[in-house]
Subunit: 305 residues, 2 copies
């Protein structure tokens, strides 16, 4: 049972965290910090927060856990605002899509108090945002990756893990660098590739003709190119090094595949396609066992990056 | 009203064509040519064909329309078998995913009788194959691209278009070369990119770790990598030149994007992502107006390549 939880940003991510803890009867009081007046009013109306405050002093007074759920680019500013009122017993965490940069920011702003900051990343989301998109079961059965810093106290790491477990999440632990390498490969690179393909087609003189014949394979392949350009610009830059590593490996793979295609090497093409089909089937079967497919009403849903 | 229609290959594509014509009351007799005994028996049992014959002479006798719906690699062999019995009033067509190679094959095998061959490509399909997958409404509201040869008689082109219209399809007309360029861009290249990504990840030493964190964005992006490796090997080779052109344009695009990422050029990344998001939204809205989204039960469906 948590006493006071502070949510910085009461939108989809922070709001769902608060609603889940409340539904579990696991929190006494949720205080929201939210700069958008409309979002603040909706967070109160929806029962996400018991109160909203603009005062970091009031928010941090006696807080057990603080979740940063605002855009990652605001992390430094928010931590600077909270630091003067950070009590020794308070644990800070976040929900950002990249972790090495957040860890570096926490150390730069908080100094030795960074030991109170346990970085995290819930792998769940929706296409819509804001308090009205928040769901008490958003994290149910989904992964939350925690990337503890060496200086974190085990008890503080345990508190963050316990809070996410109360939201229904399955806890995975990686280092910030492992996290960023993994998500560069399976999330950030696919986004970049999808954006690049649609932009490439859209700039061709006969783009209208091409789009006319794009069908369901194209729709699924490029769905992630419908994501927020600002957010993905920030993620691309925040995870630049890991993303460049993955992009270079992929460019080498494509260049090799091009040579085989140019050489009319059917067996080599078939071997690559077959290996991909086999690996994807094995993945798909494993993931559907662990996380049953979403119902149709959520078929346009999008995980958190 | 068609008299006698011959379906060479009584699986998903040919079977759905026959069922649609029958439901429309638009055909007197459907004769199937099918080499797989199980498929032949199912095609009869399901009412796809009124009879099955192994004799090209019996099949071609008095035929108005012959649809080649076997794997594209068999096109030459099938045309060689049919040619001796091809009557002057019979029109041939096909349903292959590439068209310039089919046109070349038709001319090579049929010579001047290629004027009786009108190449076509219905843009519809399912993940399952065979007679049991055939649906009378598979082509309803979907596009069929017809790529007439200069030597085709207008009446023969009109007959093929009319038959597809009776199946509920919307007729589009392109040259074989236009067709292949368009599908290289919006279908064949995305398949190659998805296969390449999954193969690339699967070959990494920490592939198991990576796949563990792949989520719904990855699932949709790579869905087409679950397609038949043999079929896509054949399509890649059949449309090699157009596919290489598109692949080279994409490699240039990715290389430029890489340079911008390496240079930390946020505005350039955002401009590319924004253009892609805008173009995809416009496409998505246009396509959903023209072709409402498939219901959940068909959410794993796959268009014909």
């Amino acid at each position: 049972m948590l006493g006071k939880v502070v949510i910085v940003g009461t939108g989809l991510i922070g709001g769902s965290f608060a609603l889940a803890l409340k539904r579990a009867g696991a929190v006494r009081e949720v205080v929201g910090m939210e700069r958008a007046p409309d979002a603040a009013a909706r967070a109160l109306a929806l029962g996400i927060a018991d109160s909203i405050t603009a005062s970091p002093q009031a928010a941090m007074n006696g807080a057990d856990l603080v979740l940063l759920a605002a855009p990652v680019a605001q992390t430094a500013r928010i931590l600077e605002t909270l630091l003067p009122y950070l009590e020794p017993g308070t644990v800070l965490t976040d929900a950002g899509s990249t972790k090495a940069d957040v860890a570096a920011t926490a150390r730069a702003v908080l100094g030795e108090r960074a030991r109170q900051f346990v970085p995290g990343h819930p792998i769940a989301g929706r296409e819509t945002n804001g308090p009205d998109a928040a769901l008490a079961d958003l994290y149910q059965g989904k992964k939350t990756v925690i990337t503890p810093l060496p200086e974190n106290a085990p008890g503080d790491v345990g508190l963050v893990a316990a809070a996410w477990r109360l939201c229904g999440a399955i806890i995975h632990t990686l280092t910030p660098e492992q996290h960023d390498g993994v998500f560069a490969a399976v999330s950030h690179l696919p986004h970049l590739l999808a954006y690049a393909l649609v932009d490439d087609i859209a700039r061709k003189p006969h783009a209208d003709l091409l789009f006319q014949y794009a069908a369901s394979g194209f729709r699924d392949f490029t769905r992630i190119a419908g994501s927020s350009p600002e957010m993905w610009r920030d993620i691309s830059l925040a995870n630049r090094d890991a993303l460049l590593t993955e992009l270079d490996a992929y460019l080498a793979q494509l260049t090799a595949l091009r040579a085989r295609l140019a050489a009319h090497d059917g067996p080599a093409l078939e071997a690559i396609y077959t290996n991909a089909q086999r690996a994807r089937r094995a993945w798909s079967e494993a993931i559907e066992t662990a996380e049953p497919p979403v119902p149709a009403s959520a078929s346009t849903k999008q995980e958190s990056p």
